[in-house]
Amino acid sequence: MGGLQIPLEHVLLLAATLFSCGLMGLMLRRNIIFMLMSLEVMLNAAALAFVAAGARWQQADGQIIFLLILSVAAAEVAVGLGLVLQIQRRFKTLDMDQVNRLRG
């Protein structure tokens, strides 16, 4: 199966909506786990826009940028979840408003 001919602006519209959902989540949640999930959603929306552009011009570059975004997301989540464990151990909370003092 090849691919479908879909209006590019519909895909970009979906990517923009997903991105703003992630941005909303990042702003309105105070739990750091949900903030990390929102970051994942935002990165995924950006990747969707890149793959759509790659499909529009029939080039492999979009999927390669998707690979790079994937590695960025993996590294970010690994470090972020390590930080979550440290924050829970030191402050006994996941509320980012109470973890505003960056001293050990």
Partner: protein, 171 residues
């Protein structure tokens, strides 16, 4: 007819994402997030990017979500976390940034309306992706590998102290 598959998957992705980010229970949110990632993988496949679709399922819905599951299990939040999260989700905390983000989205949607064009409808095979990846983009591969190494070292450093302290406390 086939195009409706795309719109159904897009709807699933949107609904699952909104549901994931408004749950108060982290484990339930994670399941919705996995559904959303699977729907985006379907979108990739339908747009003619099968390699990206496979990686989306393997790495996003597989590896990264498993990391989240492990951390949620280690934190062991339970019912108290559920109640506390519901208290944190009061509307007065998020209504103003929400309205402003919605305005920015509206502007973006209006700007996107003036570029009517179709995707090519031809799949880009994994072979082409691999050829481009190790041809002109080989430096990007090296940079990604260094980034992953830095992430590995950082995660090990942060997590190791957690594990050592927990073992010391149990003794």
């Amino acid at each position: 007819m086939m195009e409706s598959l795309f719109y159904i998957a897009a709807l699933v992705a949107l609904v699952a994402t909104v549901a994931a980010l408004t749950r108060s229970n982290a484990a339930h949110a994670l399941i919705y997030l996995i559904v959303s990632l699977l729907a985006v993988a379907v979108l990739f496949f339908l747009m003619g990017a099968p390699f990206a679709a496979a990686l989306e399922i393997l790495i996003y819905a597989g590896a990264i979500m498993v990391l989240f599951v492990f951390v949620i299990m280690m934190l062991n939040l339970g019912e108290t976390g559920d109640i506390r999260e519901r208290q944190w989700l009061r509307p007065r905390n998020w209504i103003v940034p929400g309205v402003m983000a919605a305005l920015l989205l509206l502007e973006l949607l209006l700007a996107l309306r003036h570029a009517p064009t179709l995707t090519s409808g031809v799949a880009v095979a994994p072979k082409d992706v691999g050829l481009a990846l190790f041809g002109p983009y080989v430096l990007a591969v090296e940079i990604a590998s260094m980034l992953l190494l830095a992430g590995l070292v950082g995660a090990y450093h942060l997590g190791r102290r957690f594990i050592v302290r927990r073992e010391g406390r149990s003794n």
